[in-house]
């Protein structure tokens, strides 16, 4: 059953007609040609489809496109400013934070969302002092990025990149 929806993807307003069964991930990739979010497990277990929806990190593979009519979606491809890389993307290059690169767009979107959660003072499972300031320590980064798997095992460099990009 078809439904016509509007999405603002990486700053561009796009109208499309989708079958109600279409996930946001499939709508982005197969219908709109936005290939930054990747299909890894397609079951919400790997994080490679992570995008920002209204600036919050979510999994595009477990979102039905029809349920997000009108949403503002930012993928890793839309994070930079023109030719200027987003600081998190730049830090991933500087720290060599990937090998094959497949999980990287999801890692970068997740890191951007995570750093804004830290800036908002959100606690995590490993925060030792709930009353104290919340900072992007290595332990916090590992815990908060646990929803993004990297089968190449680039984790030490991913942590280093996020630490570098953290304010």
């Amino acid at each position: 059953m078809d439904s016509t929806i509007t999405l603002t993807v990486d700053g561009e307003r796009r109208e499309l007609t989708v079958d109600t069964r279409t996930t946001l991930l499939d709508a982005l990739r197969d219908r709109l040609g936005v290939y930054a979010p990747k299909k890894g497990c397609d079951h919400g277990q790997c994080g490679s489809c992570t995008v920002l929806m209204e600036d919050r990190r979510v999994l595009a593979c477990l979102s039905l496109a029809v349920a997000h009519d009108g949403a503002r979606v930012t993928t890793a491809a839309g994070l930079g400013d023109g030719d200027e890389l987003h600081p998190v993307a730049g830090a991933f290059l500087d720290e060599d934070a990937f090998q094959c690169g497949y999980c990287t767009p999801g890692q970068i979107c997740s890191a951007v969302g995570m750093l804004s959660e830290v800036a908002s003072g959100w606690l995590s499972h490993v925060t030792e002092d709930p009353e104290g300031p919340v900072e992007a320590t290595d332990a916090e980064i590992r815990e908060r990025m646990s929803g993004n798997l990297c089968r190449c095992g680039a984790y030490p460099h991913i942590v280093a990149a996020i630490r570098r990009a953290a304010p």
Binding site: M1, R21, G44, G47, R57, S63, G113, P130
Partner: protein, 329 residues
Amino acid sequence: MNPFTYARPGGAGEAVEAVTADPGACFLAGGTNLVDHLKLGVASPTALVDVRGAVDDTIEESPDGGVRIGAGVTNSDLAAHPVIRRSYPVLSSALLAGASGQLRNMATTGGNLLQRTRCVYFQDVTTPCNKREPGSGCSALEGHGRDNAVLGTSEQCVATHPSDMAVGLLVLDAVVVVLGPSGERRVPLADLHRLPGAEPERDTVLERGELITAVELPAPLAEGRGAYRKVRDRASYAFALVSVAALVHVRGDRITEARIALGGVAHAPWRARRTEAALEGRPLTEAGLRVAAEAELARARPGKDNAFKVPLAVNTCTAVLRDLTGVGS
């Protein structure tokens, strides 16, 4: 995936009517469990009724000193809310022990309670499962049994309830507000989830068309100390093998009130009433804490692969109580 219609009603009453009127319809909230089930074939509704926008997504302090949590509040907003962090830190801790940052941003309070077991056979439609297909048999009894329940199981089903949040809510004496075709009712969280018995396909006592609209917490236990500890196969982003939520009030050398709940061990979040009874009013000793934890697990009936959960639950419960009371330190 079977075709389905999609509707987004503006109010809870309208949503309840839509699902009540159509046997093929079901509610959709954050979608983190249901959308996966659509893909796996575990669920095949012909109509989805999206309740985000139909149910409240705010947290309000109530006149009696408690809190009312709209069913649409996301797990991350709930964990980060200043009132929850200050007055109900065991709930924040339980939420933050669950899932991943992305999933907590999507998952809702109502949906978290109604998520279904992650038993591998329930999620694999090629295998028999009494919960998914009543009468087909239970593959978990003789199959991969590491994650199975040890308390309150039946011959029909040994699945566990996967929620961390629910275990935290259970020690807070949370009450679930439900809107149904015949009006509103309140169900204590302790009564919401069923044990499998002969009807493992029914996870909760909710009737068809009933929608969780809010969760109410009574005023926090004065001077109570709480903690949530989760034991799992990896440090993060995994379901509990065993988890313990505890809230205790200590006066002098005695626990005057104890509320303990266990996760990962049963078809429902499990209130450890026998442990509570063994603690309350007794002098605090390290041996006493362990005996109290053992009192609950004495009824455990593990299978071939999960006997480790019994000492794991006892040890975890004892350790949490030791930390909260300072006994043995």
